[in-house]
Amino acid sequence: MSEMHETALHERPNTPGPPRMNLRPLALALMLAVLVALFAITLSIGSVTIPLRDIGLILAGGEPARATWSQIVLLFRLPKAITALLAGASLAVAGLEMQTLFRNPLADPFVLGVSSGASLGVALVVLTAGSTLSGAVLVSGLSLLADLGVVAAASLGAALVMALVMLAARRVKTMTLLILGLMFGYATNAAVSILLHFSISERIQAYIAWTFGSFGSTTWQELRVFAPVLLLALLVAQVMVKPLNALLLGESYARSMGLNVARARFWLLASTAILSGVVTAFCGPIGFIGVAVPHMARAVFRTSDHRVLIPAVTLLGSITALLADFVAGVPGSQIVLPLNAITALIGAPVVVWVILNRKGIKETFA
């Protein structure tokens, strides 16, 4: 057999090589540069503008022109920017994994109902907790977001759903899982709205503030949990490029090419559940980054190859999140717009564009 091929290869026809890919490293480098610049800008510009030179000084441990700047950057802007960076990358990569696994261009990190689980957890804490948490709960929405009780509740809710999904994944097909996730989302939303109905307005407000989403509520202590967990799950995704590529052809073909589909599916689901669950717990349910960013990356690079898409989506996700956070902060003012509104304004046109432009979309849903 192999000799057969050797002979065939000797008389190798002059077939053109792989499509031109020399521009890809350049585009990735450009994205990285944009990301770094955007990161610096978000540290520099806000309600108070701090010169970039002073930002550098502060990060290097030096003394800026005004002492308060150090406080502003180190206590607020830097953790917020790092949170946005990680959360954006996490949601976008989780979205890409789900779109490939479910072979559905509109799948996002939340199709499994993870964000619904987190929402239910938060709703239970914020809306029903009586005496134990009332002190924290009844103050304004912002300081409530900083309260660890909410993070714990959201994590618990997300983890519970995740466990259910992983359990179900061992028994049902991938497509069934998608529908189970959707139904679970509806059910939890119903439960939340019943809770809302019986709640007092301050608590409802606090809950709604959480649903707006924010990168600004993670403290350094929380980042110590947030960052390593997300980095680990992102690492899993980087390792999954080969299975993800095989899954482009569907599970039957992937299996026929030697992929252990059950194991690949487990790791993909675990990675997605952790990425989306942790981000939701700390930042609230942030929509559209997960569904829109993978399409942006495909449009820029014109490929479905995950060896290109995973790094591209990681960078683009971070860029999008930083940008959305920057816009939501309305630079030069004291106003802070709901983050979810901004991500929706960026993401919805992308999704519309996908639906109107993708030739294959009919076949995907057929």
């Binding site: 053109p16 590529n245 039957s252 090419m257 030697g258």
Partner: protein, 345 residues
């Protein structure tokens, strides 16, 4: 010429689906067949006979109910998924929608069982990919996006992807479905060429009986009931197995012409006079209408004469005891015959 060497064999194989409770649903039983290197085998049988189930079982995609499948003597179940993928590849019926992937990129996916954990393409992988693309005649398509291809082009590329796995055995589930005739012939020719020149063992299921009879080295015939029968196409025709498998209401295999006739209820006997190509196609039209066509002088109540004085001026005369009419096309001819029939009824 290579010595025949069985590469994929089965031993008293029962295929089907285990049921959650109760006895498994057996689709076909007692299958003992062997696929040899360098041969192209067509798997034929009516719908529901279990062609896809057999292919899935042979490809290790579903376990046999009983008996075993052996790849070069080694039980399929003993091979790891990766080992199996290096020796056996498949082309399935399910639609492939890969989004933004070039033909090269899609064929490169076939290197999956050979590449490292990152799926990096080495120089050797690259030359196998190019060889596979060239082997199916898809070289001009290499840079096109898969989404832009026609069905025929896409099928070629999927075969190239299976080829890029460098398998000993290729299993294809209805690779010619949904293709027009030229593309069907091309796919068959490509597969036959691969079997002959590259020494692959190729097994494909198809509903394209005509084409299978003309191009297969051997045929595995899967009737709705009873054992799988194996032989050269002509052997199966001569033994009557072919006719028996496909004999159903309204469809008959005609061993004289090697083609299938769609016979409705018999409309009676017609005597046909004339010869050449016009007469041949007139016979086809009449048979489609359900007539038995007698080419000799007979006592048939209806006689049709092909009047071919000039190829550009074809006419048909219909003579019955009651009337004599002339038609200027086959369509007209059939119309006249229908009115004669309804008048008689």
């Amino acid at each position: 010429m290579m010595q025949p060497e069985a590469i994929l064999t089965t031993d008293h194989l029962n295929i089907g689906y285990p049921q959650p409770r109760g006895v498994p649903r057996t689709v076909s039983a007692g299958i003992s067949v062997a696929l040899e290197r360098g041969e192209m085998v067509c798997l034929l049988g009516p719908n529901g006979a279990g062609k896809s189930t057999l292919l899935r079982t042979l490809g290790g995609m579903q376990p046999p109910l009983e008996g075993g499948v052996y790849l070069a003597g080694c039980p399929l179940a003993d091979l790891s998924a990766r080992e199996l993928a290096r020796r056996l590849s498949v082309v399935l019926t399910e639609r492939v929608d890969v989004g933004e992937l070039s033909v090269y990129g899609l064929v490169a996916l076939g290197r999956h069982p050979h590449t490292d954990w990152l799926g990096r393409i080495t120089a050797r992988d690259d030359s196998v990919i190019r060889w596979a693309i060239e082997a199916v005649g898809a070289a001009p398509l290499a840079h096109r996006y898969v989404g832009e291809l026609s069905d025929g082009e896409r099928q070629k590329v999927l075969i190239a992807r299976a080829l890029a796995q460098e398998p000993d055995v290729m299993l294809l589930d209805e690779p010619t479905a949904f293709l027009d005739l030229p593309h069907r012939v091309e796919v068959m020719r490509t597969l036959r060429h691969l079997a002959r020149r590259a020494g692959h063992a190729v097994l494909l299921s198809t509903h394209d009986l005509d084409l299978a009879l003309r191009s297969a080295d051997r045929i595995w015939l899967m009737p709705l009931e009873g054992p799988v029968q194996v032989g050269a196409p002509e052997d199966l025709v001569l033994s009557g197995a072919f006719q028996a498998t496909f004999h159903r209401e309204g469809i008959d295999f005609d061993p004289y012409t090697g083609s299938f006739t769609i016979s409705g209820q018999s409309a009676g006997v017609i005597e046909l006079q004339g010869d050449g190509i016009p007469a041949l196609w007139t016979v086809r039209a009449l048979e489609r209408e359900g007539y038995y066509v007698a080419r000799e002088r007979s006592a048939a109540p209806i006689r049709v004469e092909v009047l071919c004085h000039d190829p550009r001026d074809l006419r048909w005369r219909i003579v019955t005891p009651q009337l004599s009419r002339t038609a200027s096309s086959i369509h007209d001819l059939l119309g006249v015959l229908r009115s004669v029939q309804s008048a008689a009824a």
